[in-house]
């Protein structure tokens, strides 16, 4: 029995103004560029709002993991509004709560400590990417 291999879209909120927006973005990039290249992919959140056909198709045809910087959950809401399927929704602050010794700083981009936290977060999310890519969604 073959297993489906899909792309998995990892969508951060990229909120500017709070460190957790920057942490969400760094975590997504870590997954896309280093931890799960070729499987994890991303798209621009505002493209969903302006109904860009490619971006909308991407989130409708593939499972999506959202990483939001605050409880307002902009990434999750935007994907759902575009008709996409949010398979897993996370808040970036959760990773800080689990690793209190790594306090991130920076608003447009996280600092070195934030990068370390993003690396850990990406490794944790990699398991979800693998499950979703293999069609083993829980």
């Amino acid at each position: 029995m073959g297993k489906k291999h899909k792309k998995v879209v990892v969508l951060p909120c990229s909120g500017i103004g709070k460190v957790f927006g920057a942490l969400a973005r760094e975590t997504a990039y870590e997954l896309v560029e280093r931890v799960r290249p070729g499987v994890a992919t991303t798209t621009c959140l505002p493209l969903l709002v302006i109904n860009d056909p490619e971006a909308v198709a991407k989130v409708k045809e593939n499972p999506v993991i959202t990483i939001d910087g605050c409880p307002k959950e902009c990434a999750r809401k935007s994907v759902e509004a575009a008709g996409g399927r949010v398979a897993k929704a996370h808040e970036a602050i959760k990773f800080y709560k689990q690793h209190k010794d790594l306090k991130p700083e920076g608003v447009a981009e996280v600092n070195e400590t934030g990068r370390k936290l993003a690396e850990i977060a990406a490794r944790e999310l990699a398991k979800e990417v693998d499950e979703l890519a293999a069609g083993e969604e829980k």
């Binding site: 709070k18 460190v19 957790f20 605050c70 409880p71 602050i93 800080y96 709560k97 209190k100 306090k103 991130p104």
Partner: protein, 151 residues
């Protein structure tokens, strides 16, 4: 009576709930038949940022107005929860353990922290500000902060 007094500064809308009483330490008390629900003001939660950790005291503890009855840690700061009233902790908001972000999301409603059985409600009320009085203090604080930032 409008539900909130509102003050806009830049893109931020600071709210003060009518009918609550306020301490100088930026905590509110909602008095209801022998007890008060307490929490922090919209101004304080905006100033300090998203709540990551919350440390609370146990129900049953006797507290005095001005006592520290817990700690809040955000990405920006760690600060004490200062009781605006005197009495006994009757309950801690059960949602706080899983969802401390409610303090930011709904500081005057779902983000309440404690219910306190009151020992001296009239004495407490005399020391606290009503919404209009606190609103003026809050506006001054915002203006002072802006002066510090922008000169």
């Amino acid at each position: 009576m409008a539900e909130f007094l509102e003050h806009t500064y830049e893109k931020f809308i600071f709210k003060v709930k009518e009918g609550y009483l306020y301490s100088q330490d930026e905590f509110w008390a909602n008095f209801q038949s022998g007890a008060a629900t307490v929490g922090l003001t919209d101004f304080l939660q905006k100033a300090k940022g998203d709540v990551a950790f919350l440390e609370t005291v146990e129900p049953g503890l006797e507290v005095k107005r001005g006592d520290e009855i817990g700690k809040i840690e955000t990405i920006k700061a760690t600060f004490g929860i200062i009781s605006p009233v005197t009495g006994k902790i009757a309950a801690v908001n059960p949602e706080m353990e899983a969802s401390p972000y409610l303090i930011n999301h709904d500081p005057y409603g779902a983000g309440w922290i404690y219910r306190i059985e009151l020992k001296d409600p009239e004495g407490d009320k005399a020391q606290l500000m009503d919404a209009k009085e606190y609103f003026e203090i809050m506006k001054n604080k915002i203006a002072q902060e802006a002066k510090k930032l922008y000169g």
